[in-house]
């Protein structure tokens, strides 16, 4: 059992709140026409994607997906440069080149969010290979969805990590759908974690709406990786509250009752709020945390709006890195 003290609880709540408010804000800005592009939000999945500093260190790396607004936030990224990126501004983390599906912040160890489903798994595996070869005790964290677990890259990566005993933790956020197709119709097993058996690594499934359960499972896997005991697969059962992409696509593939159930009964923020109260926090303390986050969001929007657009010649920069040789 991993102990979680009040400071850590507060920090967890703060990060979840930052993700929720960031997503709510960006959705509004998108629908108002201020943001654009294919836009996949992680509202509802906050506790699955949260990686507080006690589980992960700054030098540990992570790789995300097309649905990765929240992942860098979960690892501690500043909101202003993320929002600026969504506006395509020069001050954005990708300098306006990446947008919503590639939001990444290398300064906090995010090696990029990649929008080709399954393409991040080998990258996270390779980072772990480097850590092992160099004898660092860094850990590589790999986020991907249920849908991605059907790509060859998932199976190839898990096998590589297992035979080489790499310090990597594969976190599968199973939100029940890949685009419009239910995981039930697309995946051969009920629990994706069972696929770990085929690669001789530990696999666990946890309630993805319970941030403490996720924290415990991921912390255990990270510790194991750091000790040199090899990779693990953690599956978080979660749900995305919004449609696959905001403002697009039909939503006839799932019932409104189902969405309503998750929104009202299984909201990770509401559930965690309850936990905080049980652990002795009062409403005022939680309100204060939320208020501070709201202020940060307002400042981030202001920063993004004020930031300059990239100059036209930026279309040709960054094709290659400046060569050191």
């Amino acid at each position: 059992m991993i102990t979680v003290d009040d400071d850590l609880l507060r920090e967890m709540y703060r990060r979840m709140s930052r993700i929720r408010k960031f997503e709510d804000t960006t959705k509004e800005l998108l629908l108002a026409g201020e943001l654009y592009g294919a836009f996949h939000t992680s509202t509802g999945q906050e506790s699955s994607i949260l990686k507080t500093r006690n589980a992960l260190r700054i030098h540990d790396s992570m790789v995300g997906t097309h649905r990765s607004h929240g992942h860098p936030i979960g690892k501690g990224a500043q909101l202003d440069r993320l929002l600026a990126e969504l506006m395509g501004k020069e001050t954005g983390v990708n300098q306006g080149k990446g947008g919503s599906m590639h939001l990444s912040d290398f300064s906090i160890g995010s090696l990029g969010e990649t929008s080709i489903v399954g393409s991040g798994l080998p990258v996270a595996t390779g980072a772990a290979l480097a850590y092992k070869m160099r004898g660092d005790d860094n850990v590589s964290l790999c986020f991907f969805g249920d849908g991605a677990s059907n790509q060859g890259t998932f199976h190839e990566s898990l096998n590589l990590a297992a035979i080489w005993k790499l310090p990597v933790v594969y976190v599968c956020e199973n939100n029940g759908y890949g685009e419009l197709t239910s995981a039930k119709d697309a995946i051969s097993v009920e629990d994706i974690s069972i696929r770990a058996v085929g690669y001789d690594m530990p696999g666990v499934t946890v309630d993805g709406q319970d941030v403490l359960a996720v924290f415990e499972a991921v912390s255990e896997a990270v510790d194991r990786a750091r000790r040199g005991d090899g990779p693990s697969l953690v599956e978080t059962k979660t749900y995305r509250f919004e449609n696959h992409a905001v403002g697009r696509l039909p939503e006839h593939y799932r019932s409104s009752e189902e969405v309503e159930y998750w929104r009202t009964e299984r909201d990770p923020l509401a559930l965690f709020h309850q936990v905080l109260i049980e652990r002795g926090f009062d409403e005022q303390q939680i309100d204060d945390l939320d208020a501070a986050v709201s202020e940060e969001i307002v400042a981030a929007i202001e920063f993004a709006r004020q930031s300059p657009a990239p100059p036209p010649e930026a279309a040709f920069t960054h094709l290659f890195s400046p060569s050191a040789g």
């Binding site: 592009g37 947008g99 599906m101």
Partner: protein, 322 residues
């Protein structure tokens, strides 16, 4: 005659071929959910056996399409968007393109890959490629880019009936465009370019969605006294170089408008063919209006200036006339 949109024409082609031939089926991500709106009515008519949702496993289901084709089915494999073909590249190159040849003619691969292309809509580098030129370097694949509802229907039907692998690049900037399509059976043979507007001063060959720009440019050039002949390439492999060479023999000038990256492009290939076989007809250098050799950025303004547009075509054509 009826007025039909490009996307409806695609749906009609698939529906008619599935009605006509039991061995035709479609598979791909979310096709039974009609996610993109191009599979309207298919699952209601043919059921989920023949309108088959796949997991996100492009290498697997593209290769499975090849296997099914080898034993007599005629799969239509929906790629969602063209760059997702990269995930299945080995199956496309090593199996689909090469099996007929490698097995000495024993294998037949009547498979159609539908590859819609989205670019110029801020989807950033990974989602916005127009990869026909990449595939053009591989023998054994037929590549088409129908640019009108008429051709979207007739060429897709021809592709499905073809006993060879055909990849059809559907420019999503054309999906919403409507024009006349005849009632009844419509087959447009592959391998033929179409002269969309006759002219005498400059030949403008367009690839995929560039047809819209080429025709608009021709209209503008006409008002300036320049007569442009606009050729819609339609079929990339095999390429109808005769029609292009004949036109250049008449006009003496060539401009190619191709939304893909310039290096090693379809525009480059046409330029080489005309330089080699039409050299003595040319009165000016060949012009290419393409996308420069950089990735598609997310920022909408940055992306927009990279892509071909009507003004660029007009300016280049004017320069050829000087």
């Amino acid at each position: 005659m009826r007025t039909v949109s490009y996307i409806q024409a695609v749906t009609e082609a698939m529906t008619e071929e599935m009605e006509r031939d039991e061995s035709v089926f479609i598979m791909g991500e979310d096709v039974a959910w009609n996610m993109m709106g191009d599979c309207t009515g298919l699952v209601e008519k043919f059921g989920t056996e023949r309108v088959r949702n796949t997991p996100i496993s492009e290498a697997g289901f593209v290769g499975a399409g090849a296997g099914a084709a080898m034993v007599g089915m005629r799969p239509i494999v929906h790629m969602l968007i063209a760059p997702f073909m990269y995930v299945a590249f080995d199956q496309i190159v090593s199996i689909i393109a090469k099996s007929t040849y490698t097995y000495g003619g024993q294998a037949r691969l009547p498979i159609t890959l539908r590859a819609p292309m989205m670019y110029g809509v801020s989807n950033a580098a990974q989602h916005s490629d127009r990869p026909y030129a990449t595939l053009m370097t591989i023998p054994g694949l037929k590549l088409i880019a129908p640019a009108t509802p008429h051709d979207a229907k007739g060429m897709l039907k021809a592709a499905i009936r073809d006993d060879n692998p055909v990849i059809t690049f559907e420019d999503r900037s054309l999906w919403g465009q409507s024009s006349e399509v005849p009632d009844g059976e419509l087959i447009v043979p592959l391998g033929q370019a179409a002269v969309r507007r006759e002219g005498t001063d400059v030949t403008v060959v367009t690839v995929a969605g560039a047809i819209t720009l080429g025709l608009a440019a021709a209209e503008q050039l006409a008002s300036e006294g320049v007569s442009a002949e606009v050729i819609d390439l339609r079929s990339i492999v095999p390429m109808d170089t005769d029609t292009i060479l004949e036109s250049v023999a008449k006009t003496g000038r060539l401009l190619i408008a191709d939304p893909a990256h310039e290096m090693g492009s379809v525009a480059s290939e046409i330029s080489a063919v005309v330089a080699q076989h039409g050299f003595w007809s040319l009165q000016a250098p060949i012009a290419r209006v393409t996308t420069p050799h950089t990735h598609m950025p997310f920022n909408a303004d940055l992306e927009k200036v990279l892509l071909p547009n009507t003004d660029k075509i007009v300016a280049e054509a004017r320069a050829l006339m000087e």
